[in-house]
């Protein structure tokens, strides 16, 4: 059996090294599996001229806009999202809801039991008209070009 003992570089091991480096580099490229681009947004929500103190703004992608819904918090009339958390590029229906007051939290089991014990009792939660949420007529188009710096969106709502 002939054992190859020629000088460096060995033809066989060079190709092995190249092959090995290619193997090592496979999988290093990061592939984003998102078929859409999120955009940084910020904006203002006014109710009857006053900043909406506490609520949520929801971006619901419309036909032709890829990607999931995005819900952001409105505090003191302002909302903001970075490009990581923001809505996908495209046209969205915008739904704005007021946050429930702390005494009627969304997860408070004790309150509902207390209310149930006095079935005649009526409560009032601050709500926005349905034309701003369930039957929203608000819409916005976010696009990457104006997303940096974030585009400022203004929504002026009226209770009447």
């Amino acid at each position: 059996m002939k054992v190859f003992s020629g000088p460096w570089p060995l033809p066989g091991s060079r190709s092995l090294i190249v092959f090995g480096s290619v193997l090592a580099l496979v999988g290093c490229g990061h592939r984003s599996n998102e078929s859409f681009t999120r955009v940084a947004v910020e904006g203002v929500v006014d109710l009857d001229g006053q900043p909406l103190e506490d609520g949520w703004i929801r971006f619901v992608p419309q036909a032709g806009t890829a990607g999931p819904k995005t819900t952001l918090r409105i505090e003191q009339g302002r909302f903001a999202a970075t490009a990581r958390m923001g809505p996908p590029e495209g046209t969205h229906r915008v739904e704005i809801v007021r946050a429930d007051p702390p005494e009627f939290a969304h997860d408070d089991e004790a309150v509902i039991a207390q209310l149930a014990a006095q079935p005649r009792r009526r409560i009032k939660l601050p709500e926005l008209p349905e034309r701003y949420n369930r039957r929203s007529e608000l819409s916005v188009t976010v696009d990457k070009a104006t997303g940096n710096p974030p585009q400022e969106v203004v929504f002026s709502l009226q209770t009447k």
Partner: protein, 311 residues
């Protein structure tokens, strides 16, 4: 002759050895992450199996009663949210008849007698991928109830538990399951007019919301992570909707938290959430799914056309 002797006893050169070591290193490097991914793949399959078993139990329920269970069952008069969940209703069909016998559906789910059952961790209601980031139960508000990581779909609209006290009309949920006070009363397979293979039934939730905090009691301010107890019919506990978000990622202490996330389907799997559909099939839905497609899948009677390539 001596020359030939020397040649036959020549060993590997240093370079050859290094090349062999490098190749072994590369192969091990390829293998190790793959082994970790295999563990997650195995946990995911076990999680899928739980969804399948639950779906089969619901189908058995349907065969017996000719209708689907409601999200809530029993409970104290006038309070339909302190009773038992759908997951408690199907206990006898998932081979836990003794727990079902022990559970009193006329009492609250936090009643000491019911906590004997509600406090049990049932392995088929816990996804192995879902990491419980706090001890459950640990606070008084937990009520001694054991965690769960699955929720039934109430559709693309949320349920307001205060509707009756606000003088609103009855809710009209559009998912596979409804609350017993819904306008529809309850649902059956005949009501799933979008097709049972196009409608979500059971999905996942996870203890993965660090900015979701206890708001009252001795644990106020601490991270609650999730509201899911398998026995609790409350919205956000064993009922979830696609209205707010899908698989939200909550970054701890970044000040960004949306209450609707608690009522959204979410998981600890990378990149999406698993669902059992009404036909009993289990699918993984990527978190990048288009919102309109997801809402179409969530509704039982929306009349949307959903192609199977879109999810």
């Amino acid at each position: 002759m001596p020359n030939h002797f020397a040649r036959t006893h020549r060993a590997f050169t240093l370079v050859e050895l290094l090349v062999v070591i490098a190749i072994i290193g590369i192969l091990v490097g390829l293998l190790l992450p793959a082994v970790q991914a295999a563990r997650e793949a195995a946990r995911r399959m076990s999680c899928q199996n739980n969804l399948k078993q639950t779906a089969l139990a619901i189908h058995n329920y349907e065969s017996t009663y000719r209708q689907l269970p409601t999200i809530n069952a029993g409970g104290v008069a006038n309070s339909n949210l302190s009773g038992a969940s759908l997951f408690a209703t199907i206990l006898p069909l998932i081979e836990r008849a003794s727990e079902f016998e022990l559970y009193d559906f006329d009492l609250d789910n936090t009643h000491p007698q019911n906590v004997l059952v509600a406090g049990q961790r049932l392995p088929f209601y816990l996804c192995p991928s879902a990491s419980l980031r706090r001890q459950v139960p640990s606070c008084a508000i937990d009520g001694g109830r054991a965690p769960g990581t699955y929720a039934a779909s109430i559709g693309s609209l949320d349920y307001s538990q205060y509707w009756a006290f606000m003088g609103q009309p009855r809710p009209n949920l559009n998912g596979a399951f409804v609350y017993s006070d819904d306008a529809a009363g309850r649902t059956g397979l005949r009501d799933v007019t979008d097709g049972t293979s196009n409608t979500l039934m059971i999905g996942e939730t996870a203890y993965n919301l660090p900015d979701y905090r206890f708001t009252s009691g001795e644990c106020a301010g601490q991270s609650r992570f999730s509201f899911t107890y398998w026995v609790n019919p409350f919205p956000g506990s064993t009922a979830a909707t696609t209205q707010h978000a899908f698989n939200p990622r909550d970054i701890a202490d970044d000040g960004v938290f949306v209450a609707g996330w608690v009522r959204s389907f979410r998981s600890d799997h990378p990149g999406g959430v698993q669902f059992s559909f009404v036909d009993g099939s289990v699918h993984f839905l990527a978190e990048t799914i288009d919102a309109l497609v997801l809402d179409a899948l969530a509704t039982r009677n929306g009349g949307e056309v959903v192609s199977h390539e879109s999810f």
